[in-house]
């Protein structure tokens, strides 16, 4: 038996042709960036990284709304995203210009906006400031339809209230001081009177 029988030749041909075909197929069909970073298409990673941003962050509003940003930074809402109450920056600004109005929640819907985060309910940590809207407004003796914005400004909810509180404290302090002074004066007068009496007697 000769080692290069027909059937061996045929097998060799099949192997060689198969090998060449698969090498060509890989060269032609495999994406060119395959294996750039690992066993996957490298361009997929680049495509994913290049996807456009929809949201920015709070810094994206500073440039044009600096005063509101400053107001917000100084108060309890400093960590809340502007874009969640308004509009993602990419829908409002492009190339440094306003392209579309940002959403501004009207007065009527504002309470539900606030209560989405602040309504009292089970599951919210005790540390988080919550109110039962009906009770809150009743306690403050305002109409149950009052907008939260009437007392709490949206961007700095405690600013007005802290201001009023401070004013009240100052007023009380002044009143206390006045009373003290009055008391002192009346005591002084009493002493003087007593002195006068003493000198009269002697």
């Amino acid at each position: 038996m000769h080692w290069l029988d027909d059937y061996v030749k045929r097998l060799l041909i099949v192997l060689v042709v198969g090998g060449v075909v698969s090498v060509v197929a890989i060269a032609l069909l495999q994406p060119s960036s395959w294996g750039e970073y690992g066993n996957y298409r490298g361009d997929a990673l680049k495509d994913e990284a290049a996807k456009p941003l929809v949201y920015g962050d709070n810094a994206s509003c500073v440039e044009c709304h600096g005063e509101i940003n400053e107001l917000a930074r100084g108060d309890v809402h400093k960590n809340i995203s502007c874009e969640m109450c308004h509009t993602p920056v990419s829908e409002h600004v492009r190339d440094g210009k306003k392209i579309k109005d940002a959403l501004v929640v009207g007065v009527k819907e504002q309470n539900s906006l606030c209560l989405k985060c602040h309504s009292k309910m089970m599951g919210r940590g005790e540390k988080f400031p919550m109110v039962d809207a009906k009770l809150h407004l009743e306690e403050l003796e305002v109409r149950p339809t009052s907008s939260c914005n009437r007392c709490h400004t949206v961007h700095a909810p405690m600013e007005n209230i802290n201001y009023v509180k401070k004013l009240r404290e100052l007023r009380e302090k002044r009143r206390a001081l006045k009373e003290e002074r009055l008391l002192e004066e009346s005591e002084l007068r009493k002493l003087e009177l007593e002195k006068a009496k003493d000198s009269d007697e002697s």
Binding site: P31, E36, Y37, G38, N39, Y40, R41, A44, L45, D47, E48, A49, A50, K51, P52, L53, V54, Y55, G56, D57, N79, I80, S81, E83, M84, P88, R94, D95, G96, L115, K116, C117, S119, M121, M122, G123, R124, G125, F128
Partner: protein, 266 residues
């Protein structure tokens, strides 16, 4: 996340290459008179955030503080817009856990928690003992079963440790959807291929926080680099705070950690 010298070298080479072509391109621009439309294109692309090179020194992780979540749903709203997720499908969602006095645990997530939880559960007869919210998203496993399950390498772990989907390559066989023990994968109804939370890889590469982290009002969602000793996550990681992962027994090694979590959470 392992640092691979070969990868660093390759990345450096890519960087040098882009510098060279960039500077060559720049000097060519000076000599060739530019049409005005070309000039506009350049300015618009420069105003968009730049993609940073892959940061192989970072060890990114995500932390969720269960006691911090107030169930407002802002994260889900932001995620849908940022990633174009079709209605009715979720890359991230917030579950509500309710426990009654007999220690029965009820879990629900109407609309994925996207609309917030302004209505309490009314279908529970026993007195409710406590309730809490648990945000869910991709666990970004170090040993992901979805990647192992993919027959054509259309999903993979990036060199910086994110598991993402190659949507051009995916054939939507759905094996990864079945392989994921956390249920974060789905077949996107619009693109018709597998989709998942990427921790907003495109935002991270541009130096921004994931959209849901950015949207969270209470800081219940935290994202950062454990190797950056100044970052909040690394401070928590090194503190006495107890960190937990979901389904640790499966050995997927998630890099999503839960703080103040509860044994009821699965």
């Amino acid at each position: 996340m392992r640092v691979n010298q070969e990868l660093i070298d390759r990345d450096r080479r890519g960087f040098i290459q882009s510098v060279v072509t960039g500077s060559v391109g720049g000097s060519l621009m000076l000599m060739i008179p530019m049409s005005s439309s070309l000039g506009k294109e350049l300015s618009s692309s420069s105003s968009e955030a730049k993609v940073n090179p892959i940061n192989l020194d970072a060890n990114y992780c995500f932390m969720v503080d269960v006691t911090g979540c107030i169930g407002c749903g802002n994260c889900c709203v932001a995620d849908r817009k940022e990633n174009n997720v079709p209605e009715g499908q979720y890359r991230t969602w917030v579950e509500r856990y309710v426990i009654d006095i007999y220690n029965t645990v009820y879990v629900d997530a109407p609309d994925g928690g996207e609309k917030g939880y302004s209505e309490p559960r009314t279908d529970i007869e026993a007195t409710i003992k406590e309730a809490f919210f648990v945000p869910k998203l991709c666990n970004m496993c170090e040993d992901p079963s979805c990647v192992q399950g993919c027959p054509i390498s259309a999903t993979f772990t990036t060199p910086d440790g994110f598991v993402i989907v190659d949507s051009d390559h995916c054939v939507a066989c759905g094996y990864c959807v079945m392989a994921c023990p956390y249920g974060v994968r789905f077949i996107n109804e619009e693109t018709k291929v597998a989709d998942k939370c990427t921790w907003c890889y495109h935002r991270v590469r541009k130096g921004k926080l994931p959209a849901c982290v950015q949207a969270c009002p209470t800081g219940a969602r935290k994202f950062g680099d454990l190797n950056d000793l100044e970052s909040e996550v690394s401070k928590i990681y090194r503190s006495a705070e107890r960190l937990e992962v979901l389904k640790p027994e499966l050995g997927n090694e998630p890099t999503l950690y839960y703080i103040n979590s509860r044994e009821e959470v699965v």
